[in-house]
C-alpha cells in the first residue's frame, strides 16, 4: 500500500514539499509562541491573501507577489509595534484586516474569485509542481540554516530579551530576521495547506510539543516530529480516504495536541 502510495509523482512532490515546510513551520512556531506572537503567523496569512489577489489582479506571479507583500507586512507589523507603541496583537489585528480587505477588493476587481484563488485559500498540495517543490525546499533550507546558526541568540532573546541585549545581541536585527523568515514560511506553507490553515501548522505542533517538553531542544524536536508526521500521515489518509489534504493534516496536528495534553495530565496525576 505504501509502495503504491509513493509511486505517484504528485504524491512524491507533495510529500517532499510538505515535510520541508512542516519542519520550518514547527520550529518557527516554538519561537513565536514563546514570544507571545502566535497570532503573527495568522495575521501574515491574511495579508498574504492580499498578495495573492494582487498577483492574480496584475496577472503576474502570485507566489512572488505574495512573498513580497508578506515580507513588507511582517516588517510593517514590527515597526508599528515598536514605533507606535502598539501591543503586538493590535498591530497584527490591523494588518490582517487591512490585508483581507485589500485582497477581497482586488479579487473582486479582477473578477478572479475562481478556482485559482480558492486553491490558494485551501491549499493544493496534491497539485504542486516540481519547480514549486524545489523552491519550497530551497527556501526552507535557508530558513532552517539561519535558525540553526543563530539558535542560541534566538533562544536567549526569546527567553530574556533584556539580558540578551545587555550581552551585546542586536535584538532588533533578530526580530526582523525572525519576522522575515516567518513571512517566507507562511507563503510557502500556503501552497501546502492553504492560507486558511497555514497558521495552524505554525501554532499547533509547537503548542503540542510545549505541553510535554522539559528542555528547549526537546520542544523543537517534538514540534518538528508532530508536524512532519501529520503531513505524511495526513497525505496518506487524504489519498486513500479521498479527504481534503489540508484539513486532514491540520486535524491530525490537533489530535497530537490533545494526545500530549492528555499525557501531561496523566503525568501530573501519577
Amino acid at each position: 500500500m505504501v509502495e503504491s502510495f509513493l509511486s505517484y509523482g504528485f504524491l512524491q512532490r507533495a510529500l517532499a514539499a510538505g515535510i520541508f515546510i512542516a519542519l520550518a513551520c514547527a520550529i518557527l512556531g516554538v519561537f513565536l509562541i514563546l514570544r507571545r506572537d502566535a497570532m503573527f503567523a495568522h495575521g501574515l496569512a491574511h495579508v498574504t491573501f492580499a498578495g495573492v489577489a494582487l498577483g492574480l489582479f496584475l496577472n503576474m506571479m502570485p507566489l512572488a507577489m505574495a512573498l513580497l507583500i508578506a515580507i513588507l507586512a511582517a516588517l510593517g507589523i514590527l515597526t508599528l509595534k515598536k514605533k507606535a507603541g502598539l501591543y503586538g496583537d493590535t498591530a497584527i489585528g490591523i494588518f490582517s484586516s487591512v490585508g483581507m480587505a485589500a485582497g477581497i477588493l482586488l479579487a473582486s476587481l479582477a473578477r478572479s474569485f475562481n478556482v485559482d484563488l480558492f486553491s490558494y485559500l485551501f491549499g493544493e498540495i496534491l497539485a504542486i509542481e516540481t519547480s514549486e517543490v524545489l523552491l519550497s525546499i530551497g527556501l526552507v533550507i535557508v530558513v532552517l540554516l539561519i535558525v540553526i546558526v543563530y539558535y542560541r541568540k534566538f533562544l536567549y532573546l526569546t527567553f530574556d530579551s533584556e539580558s540578551a541585549k545587555a550581552s551585546g545581541i542586536k535584538a532588533y536585527r533578530f526580530d526582523i530576521l525572525l519576522s522575515v523568515l516567518t513571512a517566507v514560511t507562511i507563503v510557502l506553507g500556503m501552497k501546502v495547506v492553504g492560507l486558511l490553515l497555514v497558521a495552524a501548522l505554525v501554532v499547533i505542533p509547537a503548542a503540542a510539543a510545549l505541553q510535554v517538553s522539559a528542555s528547549f531542544r526537546k520542544a523543537l524536536i517534538l514540534s518538528s516530529l508532530v508536524a512532519v508526521v501529520s503531513v505524511v500521515f495526513g497525505l496518506f489518509l487524504a489519498f486513500y480516504l479521498d479527504l481534503p489534504a489540508s484539513a486532514t493534516i491540520v486535524l491530525l496536528c490537533f489530535f497530537f495536541f490533545l494526545l500530549f495534553y492528555a499525557v501531561k495530565r496523566i503525568k501530573k496525576v501519577s
Partner: protein, 256 residues
Amino acid sequence: MDSTADEDKILISVKNIHFRYEYTPVLIDVSFTIHSGDFLAIIGPNGSGKTTLLKIILRLLKPSLGKVRIMGKPAEEFEDWPAIGYVPQKATHVDPLFPVSVKEVVAMGLFSSKRISLPVNRKEESAAVQNALCQVGLSSFRNRRIGKLSAGQQQRVFIARAIVNRPRILFLDEPTTGVDAETQERFYDMLDQLNKKEGITIALITHDIGIINKHVTKVACLNQKLVYHGTHEDFCRSEAFKEMLTAGHHLISHRH
C-alpha cells in the same frame, strides 16, 4: 601615583551623565568610576535612578548627556561583551511554562558572545556550564526545567549564566529580592568568593544596608545625583549615611 597604571585599573567610568524619561529628570550629573577588584554597592531609595544608571552603563539606554567608558573604550565602541555579566532586576519573573532546562539557560550566556552561535566545542561548553553551576551550588539541578525551581534558585541560575563567560565585571540589580535570609547569607558569601578568589569585580544594587558592613569595599549612594561615592568605611562615617539612617529608615531596615 602612577597614573597610567591607575587608568588600567578603571573598568567603568561614568562622566557627567544626565538622563530623563520624557520630562522627568532621573539622573543629574552623575560621575564615578569602578576599579578592577571593587565590590561596589549602589544604594538609594526607590526611583532614585539605580536601575537606570546600570542600563545606561550596559547601553540598554542612551544618556541625554555625558559619557560612559567601558574598559578604556567609549561605550559605543566596546565589543568585548563576554567580559561583562549582568543579572537584571526581577530576573526571577520566569515564565513557568517556558521549556528550557537550567543547563540551557546557563549556556545562553556562553553563546551570546560569539558571532555565530553554533556550538564550537561541546566539551568545553558543557564544562563551562557545569563549572558555573557548581559555583552557585546548583550542579545537581542542571536538567531541571527552570520554571520548576524556586525564586531563589532561579536567581542563582541567572548568576551562573552571568559568570559562565568568566567576566571581568558582574552587575547585579537587587539580586536577593525574594530570597530567604539564610540563602542570602550563602549568596553573599558566594559573591565574596567570586570577588576575592576569582578576581571578578562586582557592582551590586541593593536596599540591604546590612550587607554593606560585611562584604562590600565601596559604596555609591544615588538619589538622582550621586550623594556619596567612596570606601565603605568612610561611608559609615559620612553625612549621607546618617541621613539615610534617619530619613529612610524604613527603606534600610526592610528585609524580605
